[in-house]
């Protein structure tokens, strides 16, 4: 337990000390929130679907979490390259505990990121169900867990940052754009619909919408089920790949 705690604490300390990372990781969600909601808001309104900012905000919260969580996986490569990973790998602690500690740390940070985006969104006019805040934290944490574990799995197999960047570009953007974060999932062409329904982020975004603005496409219980199962599977894969790292 102690080992998991200290690994978690290290991630948290590093995050709050890196002011540039804190600020930098907020720029993108903020830009999306402003540009998209003010840009598409009127059209959305005319189409009779309602307030676009309300629809968009949960999607951008999920986006903030997705980015932070996946990139916290990059820290494994960083630690591999700058040597700190060795320090943890020669310690009398099982690899699984190391992986769990790191993943929980990354997921906590990503959740904090999600909360910050929620606050920013409410500042620019996002109105949500107060009662949904607590369950929304659970959804945020599940999204964070899934993508931190995915980042860990990918980073465990890679040696350098370049490869990671490539995968990120082919992964982050599709996961984000094809998740229903910025458009409604109903009435989509079938091919796109198949992709969006096999994207775990879709269920995260949908779950957040369900609890925050009372509108859900899949239903909150299905969202929850898919997220829990996916995070379980990805934690297992990530743990397995992490335990096979050789330095």
């Amino acid at each position: 337990m102690n080992a998991i705690y200290i690994l978690w604490l290290r991630q948290i300390k590093r995050y709050f000390r890196s002011k540039s990372r804190l600020v930098g990781s907020l720029g993108q969600p903020l830009l999306f929130l402003l540009a998209l909601s003010f840009g598409f808001g009127p059209i959305f309104q005319k189409a009779g679907i309602g307030n676009y900012l309300e629809f968009l905000a949960p999607g951008i919260i999920a986006m903030g979490i997705l980015f932070t969580a996946l990139f916290s996986g990059i820290e494994i490569i960083w630690d591999k390259q700058f040597g700190f990973l060795k320090e943890t790998l020669v310690a009398p602690v099982t690899r699984i505990k190391i992986m769990i500690g790191r993943t929980l740390g990354g997921a906590t940070i990503a959740t904090v990121q999600g909360i910050i985006v929620l606050l920013i969104a409410s500042l620019i006019g996002f109105k949500f169900e107060m009662i949904g805040v607590i369950p929304s934290l659970a959804f945020m944490f599940l999204i964070a867990l899934i993508f931190t574990a995915l980042g860990t799995a990918i980073a465990s197999m890679l040696e350098d940052m370049q490869g990671f960047q490539l995968i990120m570009n082919f992964l982050v953007m599709p996961i984000f754009f094809l998740s229903g974060a910025i458009f409604p999932l109903g009435d989509l062409p079938e091919s796109i619909s198949i992709i969006t329904s096999s994207n775990p982020l879709s269920y995260g975004v949908d779950g957040l919408r369900g609890v925050l603005i009372n509108s859900s496409h899949f239903g909150i219980s299905l969202d929850l089920l898919v997220l829990i199962v996916t995070s379980g599977i990805l934690l297992l894969i990530g743990g397995y790949l992490f335990s096979r790292i050789e330095i």
Partner: protein, 266 residues
Amino acid sequence: MKDAIVQVTGLVKKFGEIEAVRGIDFSVEHGSIFAFLGPNGAGKTTTIKILTTLLKPTSGKILVNGFDPLTHQNDVRRSFGIVFQDPSLDDELTAYENMEFHGVLYNIPQKLRKNRIEELLKFTELWERRNDLVKNFSGGMRRRLEIARGLLHHPKILFLDEPTLGLDPQTRNHIWEYIRNLNTKENITVFFTTHYIAEAEQSAKQVAIIDHGQIITRGTPEEIKRQAKTSSLEEAFISLTGKEIREETMGTKELFRNSHKMWRRS
């Protein structure tokens, strides 16, 4: 050898087709200072990684402090402290936090941990700087901190992979004083590699020279000099391993690390 803390027999490590270590035997006496010398790419670091459970051997038998790294991984890990060839500190944490992290990972009880950290940071003259981030430390301070950290859990043996690489003669001297001091005071076995052969001649009681994955000679510095008929260990080393310059293959990891170093210094 009786009373050996490290016992290696027939150790082989293959990476695919390449045989990095080809059946080596050696042992390290309890409480001694042991130098493991060899040109670049001879198999030193690979051997240390195997002894410290970071790599699994292809074949061969190893005992570290009486434990087999394959079956008693955690017992072996508790037995040694290590200072790696390249830095392994967390730059974004303070010196104290790096120590604390290590202490918690090794499950040292809180009170003992606190005392031991203070004792070691004072011993390595870093106590005044304990709350500074490691990224503001010089190379010599980092090395001292790594040595202090490696000693935190009272290891029986300390592995030092090129502990003085890239340091100026003053700092090197300083660090060797600590190491010799430790060896006599706390009776810790020291297992080190270096390219500064004079350091080995000065401090080591036992030396083994490895080249192309095989041990080519072992003994005290005097015995090796006598065997090679040279006046210094450095000459003996060159006469035994040849004058040819070895190219160490630089992986992406090293390239990246080097470019990072340059970037930080500029």
